[in-house]
């Protein structure tokens, strides 16, 4: 009796949080959904169609391409770095790299863009020292953005994959060797299959980070590289034809769908990797 009273009471303690999220997060999303399907006051899929055509479609594809490239490169390079650190005998190296990864994984936004502009931008220190400008170097394009996004993606992958690498037990390798497996065979049939969920999970996180990044791109390239976040910002700040304001909402819906699909891959994967790595 007493127990059930406590139970119902404790449910109320969570109520403010749920109400808050429902109002502050739910209402804008509902309005977003409503606005996407409204044109000149009536129901219409015109906004959605427009958001999947022409320059908008190019921007969406550009974002997906950039994020996929960053995710793959970041996942591979981050795993190599993590493996180098995990197998090192120096404890201090490991601690240092992990702390640095924690900081750099959070080093995004405008400051990141400016640090790279100061390094490899047109008047950057490295550009002028090495005379890269004369060789047609420019940071302000697709590849420059990839280079900059990797700066926070690789550390994020290191943080994600180190626990998984720690979970690769030496006994598994020894068992494989006792059965006559070569190093390649060990990785092909034991190591990589066990790591796959962690690797893919990391790649999904990197994809999400790069896909939703706006500040760095805005500060670095303005609108010279077509990205969906930049298009949405443009449309929101009134940079569209009259009557087409809701295209920004439709583009946002496109983004949520893409991000949601990618995340949907991540959650079951994480459950699978948790089974092996404890």
């Amino acid at each position: 009796m007493r127990d059930s009273r406590t139970r119902s009471k404790s449910r109320w303690a969570a109520a403010p949080l749920l109400v808050f999220v429902a109002v502050v997060f739910g209402v804008p999303l509902l309005v977003l959904l409503g606005g996407t399907f409204t044109k000149e006051g009536t129901f219409s899929t015109a906004n959605l169609t427009e958001s999947l055509q022409g320059a908008y479609l190019t921007a969406l594809i550009g974002s997906v391409k950039l994020s996929a490239l960053v995710a793959v490169l970041g996942a591979v390079l981050g795993t190599f770095l993590a493996q180098a650190v995990v197998t090192s005998r120096f404890r201090a190296l490991r601690e240092g790299v992990l702390t640095a990864s924690g900081v750099l994984a959070n080093f995004g936004g405008v400051p990141l863009a400016f640090a790279w502009i100061a390094t490899l931008g047109n008047a950057g220190v490295v550009t002028t020292t090495l005379g890269l400008g004369g060789h047609g170097w420019s940071l302000y394009n697709f590849w420059g953005l990839t280079l900059v996004y990797l700066y926070f993606s690789i550390p994020l992958q290191v943080l994600t994959v180190v626990p998984a690498l720690d979970g690769l037990r030496p006994q598994w390798r020894e068992a494989a060797q006792n059965n006559g497996a070569s190093t390649w065979q060990f990785w092909r049939y034991v190591g990589i299959p066990v790591l796959t969920p962690a690797l893919l999970g990391g790649a999904v996180l990197l994809f999400g980070g790069a896909f939703s990044a706006y500040a760095t791109a805005q500060a670095m390239v303005g609108s010279t590289v077509p990205l969906v976040t930049l298009k949405i910002a443009d449309a929101l700040t009134g940079n569209v034809l009259i009557g087409h304001e809701n295209v920004a909402l439709a583009l946002s819906l496109d983004m949520i769908v893409v991000a949601g699909l990618v995340m949907a891959v991540y959650l079951p994967l994480q459950r699978r990797s948790a089974r092996w790595l404890r």
Partner: protein, 295 residues
């Protein structure tokens, strides 16, 4: 099988693990070369921008070394105001996040475990929905609000939310963005203490529920609450997307605005903000280490 090394810590795997692609003999030597190359490349990639940014700020064209750009940070118009605004927003966000999240996290641990999946989903959603789409929704609400609500008291609320001196709407948005991080660190903190025994003991001794929360649970949760607050503060101090698209002059927006006219100062602030993040996180991890060795 027999003769396996019974206990080897992951850090000292015998023969060190080589890259997946290296299958050649001579393993004891190769991995060391491989590891050295990887670490060297990573070192170059991660250190060069930091060093170059610093060089960029201290080397004025035609002059030698000077720390002038760092001094000019403070005299640049808008610095104090935007930093204070961001700090204020950060503090308000921390208070609201903790007030909302702590009771919910405790409730899930104690009496309503069935709410756990609900909370997990609610606290994952802000990670799935990109901030720019969130702000697209918010700005639409703010734009539509006046049209539909002009004759109701809500109209005044919508205007008040957007007061440029202290935009409450940013606090609301940042609370949503900070929820995943705050909830996770508080939940981890609650997992590390025996909430049920503590609260039952306190209840048996006649303490009321607010008393249990304030005098028993919160004192045991200091480091988890500190980490939730730090993460929230770091998030608010660096948030650009929402503030820019709703046109509020927060600190990151200020950095962006001055970059056109004062490139050196904006890079100097960037270096500076990285240093501050580094210090915050170091404080955080050392506080966590102390907590672990203490308990």
């Amino acid at each position: 099988m027999a003769s396996l090394t019974p206990q080897v810590t992951p850090g000292t795997v015998p023969g060190a693990a080589p890259a997946p692609v290296s299958a050649r003999p001579g393993r004891p030597r190769r991995p060391r070369v491989w590891r050295g190359v990887v670490l060297l490349l990573a070192g170059v990639y991660f250190l060069v921008p930091l060093i170059a940014s610093f060089v960029f700020t201290v080397k004025a064209p035609g002059q030698g070394f000077s720390l002038d750009a760092y001094g000019r940070i403070f005299s640049t118009e808008g610095f104090g105001g935007s930093l204070l605004l961001s700090l204020g927003l950060g503090l308000a966000t921390i208070v609201v996040v903790l007030l909302l999240t702590l009771p919910a996290a405790v409730a899930v641990r104690l009496g309503a475990p069935r709410l756990r999946p609900v909370l997990e989903v609610v606290c994952t959603l802000p990670l799935v929905v990109p901030p720019i789409t969130f702000v697209a929704g918010i700005s639409t609400v703010l734009r539509w609000g006046p049209d539909y609500l002009a004759s109701t008291p809500f109209y005044q609320t919508i205007i008040a939310l957007q007061n440029p001196g202290f935009p409450v709407v940013l606090v609301l948005a940042y609370v949503v963005l900070a929820l995943p991080f705050a909830y996770r660190s508080l939940d981890a903190g609650l997992g590390a203490i025996d909430v049920r025994t503590l609260s039952e003991a306190a209840r048996n001794l006649g303490a009321s529920w607010p008393h249990v929360l304030l005098r028993v649970i919160i004192p045991n949760m200091r480091s988890a609450m500190a980490s939730a607050s730090f993460l929230t503060l770091a998030l608010v101090l660096g948030e650009f997307t929402i503030a820019r698209l709703l046109s509020f002059q927060t600190f990151p927006n200020w950095i962006y605005r001055i970059s056109g006219s004062q490139a050196q100062v904006s890079v100097a602030v960037s270096v500076f903000s990285l240093l501050i993040t580094w210090l915050l996180l170091l404080a955080l991890s050392s506080a966590g280490a102390r907590q672990r060795s203490g308990s």
